[in-house]
């Protein structure tokens, strides 16, 4: 899942300076689940904006809306009528959502209300952790299903680095687990410790061409 978090209020406030009619658009998928851009957050941000506007005696009309998936043009087009009525759109989707809306309504300024941060999973309620860097060259088979690219602070492919702290913690951040200790423990459980001795060539990061594109065969 894509994880994002709300931008600081001031930054959003600066973005919409000079616009009177704003549409705040949430997304019903990843960012709803990570508490950043669902219906509730749309309500909270809209309320904040109205409050601040009232404080400044400024006129501000807000339309609140949530799209099922902001990354789908067809779904984004469902708000076309409402978009026509506003001066700017404030997207509470991930970076993909913002761009899909911007692409769909080219004549409208579309602003991001979130910072898209990483792909991850919930550790427990309210806490999300990164799990995948989308490197384009997955090596999870060799590492017991634990990604050293993301979870090792140094992104080492051949670890651990020698700075592992007592209790298997990272030398850079004592609150974080050393990824390579985790990998060792996991492989041990699976009886595959021999994999620890394998040497990994530097990763071919060119596998990810920017901008990334996948052309899947029709099936």
């Amino acid at each position: 899942m894509i994880i994002a978090e709300r931008k600081p209020f001031q930054e959003i406030w600066e973005m919409i300076r000079g616009y009177e009619r704003i549409m705040v658009v949430g997304c019903g998928t990843c960012v709803t689940v990570c508490w950043a851009g669902g219906e509730k957050e749309v309500g909270v941000l809209s309320s904040q904006l109205r409050l601040r506007a009232a404080e400044e005696g400024r006129k501000l009309n807000i339309i609140e809306s949530v799209i099922e998936r902001q990354c789908e043009k067809e779904m984004v087009e469902e708000i076309a009528d409402k978009v026509r009525e506003v001066d700017a759109v404030l997207s509470m989707g991930c970076g993909v959502g913002v761009q899909t809306i911007a692409e769909t309504f080219e004549e409208k300024p579309v602003f991001p209300a979130l910072n898209t941060t990483f792909m991850g999973m919930p550790e427990r309620e309210g806490i999300w952790v990164e799990r995948c860097a989308a490197c384009g060259d997955c090596m999870l088979y060799w590492t017991g299903g634990i990604c050293p690219v993301v979870r090792c602070a140094k992104g080492l492919l051949n670890g651990p680095c020698g700075g592992t702290r007592r209790g298997g913690k990272c030398e850079i951040d004592p609150d974080k687990d050393c990824a390579w200790v985790l990998i060792y423990q996991r492989l041990e459980k699976q009886g595959r410790l021999d994999l620890m001795e394998r040497y990994y060539e530097p990763k071919n990061y060119r596998a990810v061409k920017r901008p990334g594109k996948i052309e899947a065969a029709i099936r």
Binding site: P8, F9, Q10, W13, G28, T29, T32, V33, W35, G38, E39, K40, E41, G43, V44, S47, Q48, R50, L51, R52, A54, E55, V66, P122, R124, E125
Partner: protein, 642 residues
């Protein structure tokens, strides 16, 4: 279709003199959708209630608003009355114009009464009918733990006519059971518990076999353990023994000792059971086997039955009690004796004892608690025992309906207290299961499947484990299991998709009340368990507080949403107070903690927006703390009021 609202005013025997009821009536009649306004002097009397019912019927009203005394007093009879009139009992909204208006302020408060009625009328528009259903329950009980408490519990439950299964991990019970209504499974362990109150499905492993059984309730009655303290890493120090070992030694040997010390309170405050054992042991040793006997303790726990007498007897016989502070040092000597060093509080100096024997033992939770507690989501307390420390659960309830804890598995209980638990749980389980049916209000809290994003947030937040994922038309969505739900609304508040709605304290209802207020108000969200009572009490005691205060009752402080608070400010409120129970006393366990976190979040949000974060505050208070209520609302008024 427009609502048809019947409004009834009560002036409580003409005693609410600071409200001009004629003026109220006149204003009320002009409110939209109000089809009837009745004025009574004692709406709670039988004749008046009948009159109210006939007015409701006559005007074809579909909901009722009553402006009278606190709903804590009269709500049940009013609900009955509107049910008599043919309405669903939930179609009632009450404006508490006596305790929280007339009695709470000096001078004329007609305007406030009118505003409160307007709030109640607005809020009443989002009332929903709640129907009741009878749900079948399994009339069988599982008792876990075949110790003294477990055996007694199983027999007691069986005596009440409920079929009981007693599960014990070892091969023997504390006492033999001759009761055909009790099935005994020894050498058996609990593998998995699914389902909820009235219908748990339990996987039990006995030998190699796995059995699947259904129970209406589960009672954990395992015994705590006594564990000796190893003192040198994992190695036992010779000369340091447990109470059982001491008993054995006295039985089998005739050795006489010079000095014996009993140690208590090595880890924080000690336990009742260890105290009793130490006192008994000290007496026995003093009498038969040793010249000098010491008991080292911090605060001696003598509140168990007989403990005080044992203590006095021990003193009379010459057992020396030493009250220490800080840590005790235990050093083995080469001759097999043990040196004990501790700081004596009375002497203010280090004391050194050379002992032949040191008896140390402390109570430890049953070994399964650590594993089963989190697995069943029933929580364990700070010392690792079952059951959260919470006044609403005392003595035997847990955060999950239908799961109970009795005896020393739930804390530091001596045998007398444990047997009181057995009686308590018997009453609870009998009330729950004896009928084999349970009348449950359906969908008091409901997930809108189309809006649910299956994010699991509500499932992770529900303090009562009443929500589960369920498959609905090829999609997995959250579903609330009505019998287990305690209607706290924490789920609705955290739902990021706004997919959960309460039938009573709905978002729409709360927001409608906020919108019906004038500007410049102090909005106080009051937990129905505590703050609402405190506010009523402030009125009863005529402790005047600012008349700008507007109270919105919520089932738990954790129900108050960021959106509710922001909307209050949008609507011109000067301050917002979220009032709930003190920490550790929330009926929904974490509700008040969630509320505190949320209020802090809103404070930061306001500061970030360039507004004053002090305009919102979380307060924890007990139901009898009227003074605190008054202090806080007055303080807020002083801070931000206009």
């Amino acid at each position: 279709m427009r609502e048809k609202i019947a409004l009834f005013l009560c002036d409580c025997h003409h005693s609410l003199k600071n409200i001009d009821f004629d003026a109220v009536r006149e204003k009320a009649e002009k409110l939209e959708d109000v089809v009837h306004v009745g004025l009574s002097s004692a709406l709670c009397l039988k004749e008046e209630l009948e009159e109210m019912a006939s007015a409701v019927r006559e005007k074809g009203a579909d909901r009722v608003v009553i402006a009278a005394c606190s709903p804590r007093l009269s709500e049940p009879i009013f609900r009955n009355a509107i049910q008599e009139a043919g309405l669903n009992p939930n179609m009632l909204s009450i404006a508490n114009i006596r305790e929280q208006c007339s009695w709470a302020h000096e001078g004329d408060v007609t305007d406030k009464a009118i505003e409160m009625i307007r709030m109640a009328v607005s809020g009443s528009r989002s009332l929903k009918e709640i129907r009741r259903e009878e749900i079948d329950l399994t009339r069988e009980v599982l008792v876990v733990g075949g110790g003294r408490t477990g055996v007694r519990t199983a027999l007691e439950i069986s005596r009440l006519g409920l079929k009981t299964t007693l599960l014990e991990g070892t091969d023997h019970l504390h006492a033999e059971i001759n009761d055909e209504n009790v099935e005994v499974l020894t050498g058996a362990t609990l593998v998995k518990v699914e389902g909820n109150v009235g219908d748990f499905s339990v996987r039990i492993k006995k030998g190699e076999e796995e059995i699947l059984r259904r129970f209406g309730a589960i009672i954990f009655a395992e015994e705590s353990r006594m564990v000796g303290i190893p003192t040198s890493g994992s190695k036992r120090v010779s000369g340091v023994i447990s109470h059982d070992e001491l008993d054995e030694m006295i039985r089998s040997e005739t050795t006489r000792f010079e000095t014996v010390a009993f140690l208590l309170d090595l880890h924080g405050e000690g336990f009742r059971l260890s105290t009793l054992s130490a006192l008994r042991g000290a007496l026995m040793v003093k009498e038969k086997r040793a010249s000098e006997v010491y008991v080292l303790c911090k605060n001696l726990k003598v509140d168990s039955q007989g403990a005080e007498a044992l203590y006095r007897e021990a003193r009379d016989r010459g057992v020396l009690f030493l009250k220490f502070d800080g840590k005790v040092k235990i050093e083995p000597l080469e001759d097999g004796r043990v040196k004990v060093k501790a700081k004596d509080v009375l002497l203010g100096d280090e004391v050194e004892l050379t002992c032949d024997l040191v008896v140390v033992e402390e109570v430890s939770p049953p070994p399964s608690a650590e594993e089963i507690g989190p697995k069943l989501r029933v929580g364990i307390d700070s010392q690792g025992f079952y059951q959260d420390e919470n006044v609403h659960l005392y003595p035997v309830l847990s955060r999950r309906k239908g799961i109970f804890f009795v005896g020393s598995c739930r804390g530091d209980l001596d045998p007398v207290r444990a047997s009181m638990d057995v009686s308590s749980v018997a009453i609870e389980v009998y009330e729950l299961l004896s009928r084999g049916k349970m009348s449950v209000e359906i969908e008091r809290v409901k997930v809108e499947p189309d809006k649910c994003r299956s994010c699991l947030t509500c499932i992770r937040f529900c303090p009562h484990s009443a929500i589960r994922l369920t498959r609905l038309e090829e999609r997995e969505v959250a579903q609330i299991y009505d019998p287990a739900c305690d209607e706290c609304g924490l789920c609705a508040t955290v739902c990021p998709a706004k997919a959960i709605a309460l039938s009573r304290e709905s978002d729409d209802g709360i927001l409608a009340q906020i919108e019906a207020m004038e500007e410049g108000r102090i909005v106080v969200f009051c937990c129905a368990e505590s703050a609402y009572h405190a506010a009523d009490r402030a009125g009863m005691l005529k402790m005047a507080y600012p008349s700008q205060v507007r109270i919105i009752p919520v089932p738990c402080a954790g129900r108050v949403d960021t959106l509710h608070i922001l909307k209050a400010f949008e609507n011109g409120a000067t301050g917002v107070l979220v009032m709930g129970c003190p920490e550790g006393a929330c009926r929904h366990l974490e509700g008040n903690i969630r509320a505190r976190e949320r209020v802090r979040y809103v404070q930061n949000m306001l500061e970030e927006m360039g507004l004053d974060g002090k305009r919102v505050k979380m307060v924890g208070l007990g139901p009898d703390m009227a003074w605190k209520f008054v202090q806080e609302v007055s303080g807020m008024m002083k801070e931000v009021g206009k």
